[in-house]
């Protein structure tokens, strides 16, 4: 419901619509065609990367007013999105207070609570009356605070005593003092807490903002829920891309440069390829068996892809459950028991399908020779073994990686693929030897 009069000029919607297909030059040209107020809205709604690109492309005399539109946490993000040599110049565009705040924020890692927080929060003393507090906040509301809806009650040394929602204050009898209406039992996060953990605290508490404390309990800033939506989405994108077998791109697909994108994909692809070379070594060990019973080779892709698929299911489930905090390191045994059961059930299902397929096919067109029942039994037993192994390995590797302090998402997919393919071949050919020696082999 954006009620706007018809007009000739470029609108915000027009520009947003074509933004992702424009060249950097056309973006700046389009941006400068917008009326100032729409351009501001457009600028503020974009992420730090786009803002940095726009800012750098504008003529020097226009840059200051755009840089100063930003709250300190957003300005810090923009500075971080700049190449190192451009950072001091942009810091120089800010007013003194903001520059100080931005420098303080830049000291934190980008994905810690400290790197997400804004230092501009509304504050009160505990001994103010509710009416004094409301008047005082009415003055603070005109400042550029992140939110006035949560108000933090501090002692003289900036230690957090409690928090009061604006709404509580507003609904309280005017005579009470802030200490009486505030919640002393405040949920807070530490400035060095990882952003994923901060996201979990938001999810558990349902608050719109959380205070960020240093090790001594001093209030350093607040993190607001809108920052967390981006974090949640970003983390999910990273995990999805890592599970897809590559480095996280760290930029939108159509915006990242071709060489960088290929680089982020080639590394893992080459690592996977080197791992998969072990399959050629494994196959070479069974070259005699294949030469004697070529029929065995026919089912190699089927067997190893089934192991890979079941391993990938298990890995995906466990990694996502870990990311959501549903599964912890100490749950490994519960997960293992579950997955052994699941692997046996799934392996038996696939094995039965495979067995039936060979038997039925043979009845229609006898391609598997007189010993087709041995072939079918080999396929059945191998599938049970391979799928169970794939499922178990896929579910336990994330635990192992986490225990070794590695990121489960980025390493599991390739490890599982290689491990399961190589082991799958060994299981298959060993089963074949056991079943077929004396007949086909």
């Amino acid at each position: 419901m954006a009620e706007t009069e018809p007009r000739e000029a470029l609108t915000l919607e027009d520009l947003a619509d074509v933004w992702h297909v424009l060249s950097p030059e056309d973006r700046v040209a389009g941006f400068r065609l917008l009326p100032r107020s729409e351009a501001e809205e457009f600028f503020l709604s974009h992420d730090a990367r786009d803002q940095a690109a726009l800012l750098r492309a504008l003529p020097p005399e226009e840059q200051r007013s755009w840089a100063r539109l930003l709250a300190p946490d957003d300005a810090a993000d923009l500075v971080q999105a700049l190449p190192p040599e451009a950072r001091e110049h942009v810091l120089g565009l800010l007013d003194d207070q903001t520059r100080r705040e931005v420098r303080a924020l830049l000291a934190y890692a980008e994905d810690d609570a400290g790197g997400l927080m804004s230092p501009r929060y509304a504050r009160l003393r505990p001994d103010m009356s509710v009416d004094e507090a409301i008047t005082y906040l009415r003055r603070q509301a005109r400042e550029r605070l992140e939110t006035i809806y949560y108000v933090y009650v501090l002692d003289e040394s900036q230690r957090l005593l409690g928090v009061v929602s604006f709404r509580d204050l507003f609904a309280a009898p005017p005579g009470k003092v802030v200490r009486d209406v505030m919640h002393a039992d405040t949920v807070a996060v530490r400035d060095d807490m990882d952003q994923e953990a901060v996201g979990r605290v938001f999810r558990e508490t349902g608050y719109l903002a959380l205070p960020v404390l240093d090790a001594e309990g001093h209030l350093k800033g607040i993190v607001t829920l809108d920052d967390i939506v981006d974090v949640v989405e970003e983390e999910a994108t990273e995990d999805i891309q890592k599970l897809g077998g590559m480095e996280a791109l760290g930029a939108p697909y159509l915006q990242i440069g071709f060489r960088r994108m290929v680089g982020k994909r080639a590394g893992w692809l080459a690592a996977l390829f080197l791992g998969e070379m072990l399959t050629a070594t494994a196959m070479a060990r069974f070259e005699d068996e294949i030469a004697r019973a070529v029929v065995l080779a026919l089912f190699v892709p089927l067997i190893i892809s089934s192991g890979g698929n079941s391993g990938s299911q298990a890995t995906t489930l466990v990694i996502r459950a870990m990311a959501l905090g549903e599964v912890r390191l100490r749950d490994w045994w519960r997960v293992a028991r579950r997955e052994i059961g699941a692997g046996l059930a799934l392996g038996t299902t696939l094995g039965s399908i495979g067995f039936l397929r060979i038997v039925i096919w043979q009845a229609v067109r006898p391609v598997y020779g007189p010993h087709y029942l041995l072939v079918a039994s080999t396929v059945f037993c191998s599938l049970v073994g391979v799928v169970t192994f794939g499922t178990l390995a896929g579910s336990l590797l994330p635990f192992l990686l986490r225990a070794l302090k590695l990121d489960p998402a980025s390493a599991s997919a390739p490890f599982v693929a290689t491990l399961v393919d190589v082991t799958g071949l060994v299981i298959y050919f060993t089963t074949a030897s056991a079943i077929m020696t004396g007949t086909l082999l």
Copy 2:
């Protein structure tokens, strides 16, 4: 920073810590040991599924007060999490107004804006003065509204005229009327808009709440940002699980029943298996070639897994970019051009590694016979072809599925795997025939 005195009783943190390993009975027992105020906090912080399970396990005389703790949108979610036969009973526990509101909400699909919204928003008339408005809101603040921080300005027929943030109102000169300080150019969503699209509007605007309108522009409720964090996470989990080659579980990993979990995995695994059976058919067509040159079989797993891995990278990237709105249907040709380039670059890289590996290995231990250069060339050419094909197929299938109105995430992974494996075998053996006929074949 949860400052609590030491005490003997079970605390909220204790219970939360062990919650996910408790049986349903132990959960209820533990829950009933909490002091009432902690139990309420605990109840409210859980999702609808847990709330429904707890509520049903409590004795009938205690259920009413728990059901009435919930705001109408949360109550509607809880009712939806109940088995159909239990719904009327729980609706009967609510007060009349809430029950009416919940029934209205239940008419919407769970994943539409209408299914997410709360009907309890703060409202004003346009001709009130700012001071009157603040006094009026102070009264509304004591009611159970979702938020008082965005206030919606309605005409007599409940049509939305504009929105004013509480903060604007608070900072405005007292003599002005609401119409002067409100924003008429309001961003709103339709009640039948999909929740993913609602998430994107939140991301683009950065607001804490959005009004939900019906087709005639009447305000039906509001969606708040905290609902969207859950939605974003849920959608990411679904996409991750689908990309992992299974149906989305729809419940936390350790909580879903074993049979349901295996069912959600067995379906896709069996579909993938049936598709992969085509590889056995494809291999059978080349049985003579394998019999003549067993060395060819050794590289089958390596070749097809490289095609699968590169296809999986491309599919994952495109599907995530689609989910984030970075890539749209009409971008297919830009993506295809990019991915052909990426595929050629990646294929050449892997092919070169493969070629070198065979040549170096042969120098160390001559296992590939006198024609090892032909084998190495076959592997090189096949990898360029297979990886390029895998990359292109992986990137374009999501577009095809989306154009056919199917969910790209749930179908691409299996299709790509099967397509690329079968085509990979054909490419490999055809290349081998072309290069080796007259020598090895």
